[in-house]
Symmetry: C2
Subunit: 421 residues, 2 copies
Amino acid sequence: MSDLSRRGLFGAVGVGGAAAGALVLAAAGSASPSSKEETVSDAYPYFGVHQGGIVTPAQDRMHFAAFDTAPGLDRDALIGLLRDWTDAASRMTQGGSAGELDAMSGSYDAPPEDTGEAYDLPPSGLTITFGFGPGLFLDAAGADRFGIAARRPAALERLPHFVADNLDPNLSDGDLCIQACAHDPQVAVHAIRNLTRIAFGRAVLRWSQLGFGRTSSTSVDQATPRNLFGFKDGTMGLRAEQTDLIDAHVWVQAGADPAADWLVGGSYMVARKIKMQIETWDRAPMREQENIVGRTKREGAPLSGGVEFDQPDFTLEGRGGVPVMDVASHVAIAHPDHNDGVQMLRRGYNYVDGNDQLGRLSAGLFFIAFVTDPRTHYIPMQSRLSRNDLMMEYLQHIGSGLWAVPPGVTEGEFVGQALFA
Amino acid sequence: MSDLSRRGLFGAVGVGGAAAGALVLAAAGSASPSSKEETVSDAYPYFGVHQGGIVTPAQDRMHFAAFDTAPGLDRDALIGLLRDWTDAASRMTQGGSAGELDAMSGSYDAPPEDTGEAYDLPPSGLTITFGFGPGLFLDAAGADRFGIAARRPAALERLPHFVADNLDPNLSDGDLCIQACAHDPQVAVHAIRNLTRIAFGRAVLRWSQLGFGRTSSTSVDQATPRNLFGFKDGTMGLRAEQTDLIDAHVWVQAGADPAADWLVGGSYMVARKIKMQIETWDRAPMREQENIVGRTKREGAPLSGGVEFDQPDFTLEGRGGVPVMDVASHVAIAHPDHNDGVQMLRRGYNYVDGNDQLGRLSAGLFFIAFVTDPRTHYIPMQSRLSRNDLMMEYLQHIGSGLWAVPPGVTEGEFVGQALFA
């Protein structure tokens, strides 16, 4: 794949990224837990029915960024930004430059159009996923700055306060968001950096997060990874191959919200920065850890028996008639059977942000889920988890955001174009 | 390599990590810039003449941590910590557990000995490198707490203030340090987390840093990577194959410091957290960027001509007799010809720590160099760079540390044992 660098590809992709079709990835999945660092250099197509980075097999690295629109931005300028972002994303995902010229070309008297740190690197499975926050429709002062308030999806409201929340406003919300995922973190960082640069004067980076390891599988070909509690995470999450369930639980369906028909084929992205008290967790006995999760640590099997993907038996009783699966275990409270059957496409990442002044690692889970409607598919479950989940003793939700994720882009269009039609 | 997980290896490695020899890595280098994410799952041997992580081909990911010893720690307890750290490092580098039992074994009534997030992962080329800071020999009050002050290497003093320094004490120094490098960041994070846990009550994490992408090559088989200025970095750095130069410029030689004979075969590690003003840099014209660096951005060739590894010609004049290589360019000031011939083994990493309140990415270079003597091999050069380097307009050194890196460990010993003999 040595020719699939940003250098070699530039000629083939051209300005519009038209060669995408030739580079479709056959299978990026990693069936073996030992091959976590796959050498997958290919590109996912940018244009399509849905945006990339949702049902795409979860890449190992992520850079997420949320933006505030600049105070003076008007509708045309917002559209201009979305068009520029779309063009850049269509190029970068195919291994090309953020700009029309590659990182090393152009006038010597001008800054390069691309910052260059990914110049020699292949596409690395990069996906770029854009989202629109509630503030884009109505700003803090209640103004409809972009003339789109009437088309705000009813579900697109700031997430409610959950009882155990300890949110930092500087790690929450944002009018716009971008999720960049790739096999190589330098490629994901390059994408966010260049999109931030392109936004200069139009949107400003509000908060951002690097994730170093995926905590979810979105394909049956991917082994379940472990979170920083040392447990397999995302076992119950939806997989791309479950197309009927994905339609039911992830994509916004026609007629779901007549005011927001522009969102059909899109989704909602919930992001939660969840700090883990890992030093405290590490002092908990194995029995307590497994009881809190509701699964064995080694295999990820329900404590009621079987193997990882077997269904838990919440009725099974142990000594003294006590349920083997604690009713307040994480699995019990999050299980679809206890949440009106709702499921989520989870796509989170482990993070470490250094350490605090007491020498504790600032570490945790950057939770991401894509759902068809947060009112049915996230808020009720999180309300229960926040109140009752035994795991909350070791968690703190410190950041939060909800964004509507427009459907995929047709070549020549920009992301979210139907919202402005 | 699917059997080389922490799970499969445990039996083979055993408590002492004795099976290391069978897992020696033949060649981890990545000759192609497109194969940055190598699937190198093997282990480097832990025991040897030198510690790993110095001339080891630079892995792509790093987690660095600096520690302060606990106030009440005495000599025996320090030795106990170093022995526990050595034992854990010898196991983890071979794909084993931090503890004597694997992450999933042991009593259900006790916390697991290993935190578990790397349980399914292969060794991933993990190296763990320990260093001793000046404060270990004489604490801030001038006390010789561990009875080793007389054996302090003369070169092991806090680095001097350089004129452009803007150091944060919370990102500087530390009695002890650990550099964990691996192909998989989860493996590097797991190592630092578990070593931090093992130190509980004896040493506390002072500061730490994740690096997502190497900015140096330490083997001729590795392509030169790019830093966040988009330029190839570390072209002039030493490579492991230059064994005579490595002996001269990296390893501490017998007789170099009679008081510190315990350091023979070791080295000094200089770490500098260098914040890059990337938004400003990105607005600089290509001509200015290249003039500042002294190299072409595309190929990394000296501006005086040739290809990447050609020597610059500092005498070449352009129009009006102006040197083609600016005398204040980074390459000119750092070049061995202008530094009494000294060379360094560079081993730094790109980092991004989120963003500041103005929406600028908190990004830069975590500079690491291993040298035989910082008084000759770092301080004079950095003094000149800090005063004269054109690049300083776009840089800010915000963290700093110097550590003596003991030689390699023989099985049954602990790291730095000769210091306490």
